[in-house]
């Protein structure tokens, strides 16, 4: 079975097409999702290790206190407490390249407080990282 998910925030509307079922149950899908941008790209889930690296960054730098954390914990959430796999491209501060990898992590002046976790090395290769004006140690 296949399905579609629509995620909307102030900046954009994204459609996630789940073309092959098997990894997800039907409960993950919006039964009444409306495709508003039929030209949008299919977005696959990012590798688990990359998702874990992003979650580790959130957790290690006091994500609950971030000034802007739109999208990161938007319901419905997965078992790890963060928004569903496939939504990472809508999380505040992240930008995705056409090949699916994180190309930038831009969280300046966002009240990050803590150490950058070593697992950030799991990101496949961001080209730009901006964490200026925080309390990163």
């Amino acid at each position: 079975m296949s399905g579609a998910e629509v995620f909307q925030n102030a900046a954009q509307t994204r459609v996630v097409l789940n073309l092959v079922d098997g990894q997800r149950g039907d409960g993950d899908l919006y039964p009444n999702g409306v495709v508003v941008n039929t030209g949008g790209p299919a977005v696959a889930s990012i590798p688990n290790a990359e998702r874990a690296a992003l979650i580790a960054l959130y957790s290690a730098t006091g994500g609950g206190g971030w000034r802007n954390q739109n999208g990161w914990k938007t319901a419905p959430t997965a078992a790890d407490g963060f928004a569903m796999p496939g939504t990472e491209c809508t999380w505040h501060g992240l930008a995705w390249g056409s090949s699916g990898g994180v190309v930038s992590v831009l969280l300046p002046a966002n009240n990050l407080d803590g150490e950058i976790p070593a697992s950030i090395a799991s990101l496949s290769g961001p080209r730009s990282v901006n964490l200026a004006g925080n309390r990163v140690r």
Partner: protein, 348 residues
């Protein structure tokens, strides 16, 4: 900062400024071979920068300012091919004092530095004399040193003239000053009957202030001319155009122009003379000096075939890549012989 390198390979821009990053900058950063922009300013990063930043050949903007970083900047920075902006003000990092590094530093279009040159501090007194001039003049040079560096310093003073170099060593306490009157005789021990001129190089273990006065001693007093001692920070590098204003050639005054080569190799300097309309007068003069040596062209307007020019200036350009040169003019009143020093002015 995590030292892992996987994330670094494709990184083009990393901005971690204004955070609480502490400790040393990880050496693994040298693997970020795509990096163009690195902002680490305004943190609490310490130690000396051990990263081979020269491996980051594409680096265009490097900001290290406002950190307790100390020690020498990596000499490998000279391998950056297209540096645009370097800032390391409000750190205790020093620039390697070699001519190659200082010339590279001078070529960075935008820079904010710490004002520190590593290691020893060299001051060159451009004009030293103990000789009899025309019309019975007796030329002498006094040299003074003031130590406000906050530490006692050792001074090695070397007189370079036509003979073998003469070196004398002394120390100078915190906040103390000294003055060598007629230094050629009193410090370097030359015969009072000698006729000699040259330069003095004073190498100090911290940044001291060195000045000099060259004057004609007469039975009724003296008159003469102040010369600053120059440091490599004052020098013109390749591609810079220095200006010597308020020159002239007339029945009233004549102009001598001198250069002091502060680099490690022989260096040529192009001197052009201009009138008040901005038109070049006479030929371009090329003055070449060996490393550490001083050369002066007397009455340079006559030598250039510039004719009489009442309101004039000169430009000075270092013609040798990697060269470091300080320049000055001495404008001499034809009636009294009173000389005025014009140190080269560098572009803002």
């Amino acid at each position: 900062m995590p030292a892992e390198s996987g994330v670094l390979a494709r990184l083009e821009s990393l901005d971690l400024s204004s955070n609480l990053l502490a400790g040393a900058i990880p050496a693994a950063l040298a693997q970020a071979a795509s990096l163009k922009v690195l902002h680490l300013g305004d943190n609490v990063l310490g130690g000396s920068l051990q990263v081979e930043l020269g491996n980051l050949a594409k680096l265009e903007r490097l900001h290290l300012h406002d950190n307790p970083l100390a020690g020498a900047l990596p000499g490998s920075l000279t391998r950056l091919t297209a540096p645009q902006h370097l800032s390391y003000q409000n750190t205790r990092q020093c620039a390697p004092g070699d001519a190659a590094f200082l010339s590279w530093l001078g070529s960075v279009p935008v820079r904010q530095d710490s004002g520190l040159i590593c290691g020893t501090y060299t001051n060159l007194v451009p004009s030293m004399a103990h000789l009899r001039g025309s019309a019975g003049t007796q030329w002498r040079t006094d040299v003074a040193v003031v130590n406000r560096a906050g530490v006692a310093v050792l001074l090695n003073a070397t007189y370079h003239s036509s003979g073998a170099p003469l070196t004398r060593s002394t120390s100078l306490a915190v906040n103390a000053a000294l003055e060598w009157r007629d230094a050629v005789v009193s410090l370097f021990g030359r015969d009072p009957g000698a006729a000699t001129s040259g330069t003095v190089e004073i190498v100090a273990t911290a940044a001291v202030h060195v000045t000099s006065r060259t004057y004609n001693e007469t039975p009724t007093g003296s008159y003469g001319q102040y010369y600053p001692a120059c440091t490599v920070k004052d020098a013109l590098s390749f591609g810079q155009v220095g200006v010597l204003p308020q020159l002239g050639k007339s029945a009233r005054v004549r102009t001598n122009i001198g250069i002091l080569n502060q680099g490690g190799a022989s260096c040529a300097v192009r001197v052009k003379l201009f009138d008040q309309a901005g038109l070049q007068r006479g030929d371009t003069r090329v003055i070449t000096a060996a490393p550490g040596k001083w050369r002066q062209e007397n009455d340079i307007f006559a030598r250039a075939g510039a004719g009489e020019v009442d309101v004039a200036y000169a430009t000075v350009e270092v013609d040798t890549p990697g060269g470091l040169v300080w320049a000055y003019a001495s404008v001499v009143d034809a009636a009294t012989g009173d000389p005025t020093t014009v140190p080269v002015l560098v572009p803002y």
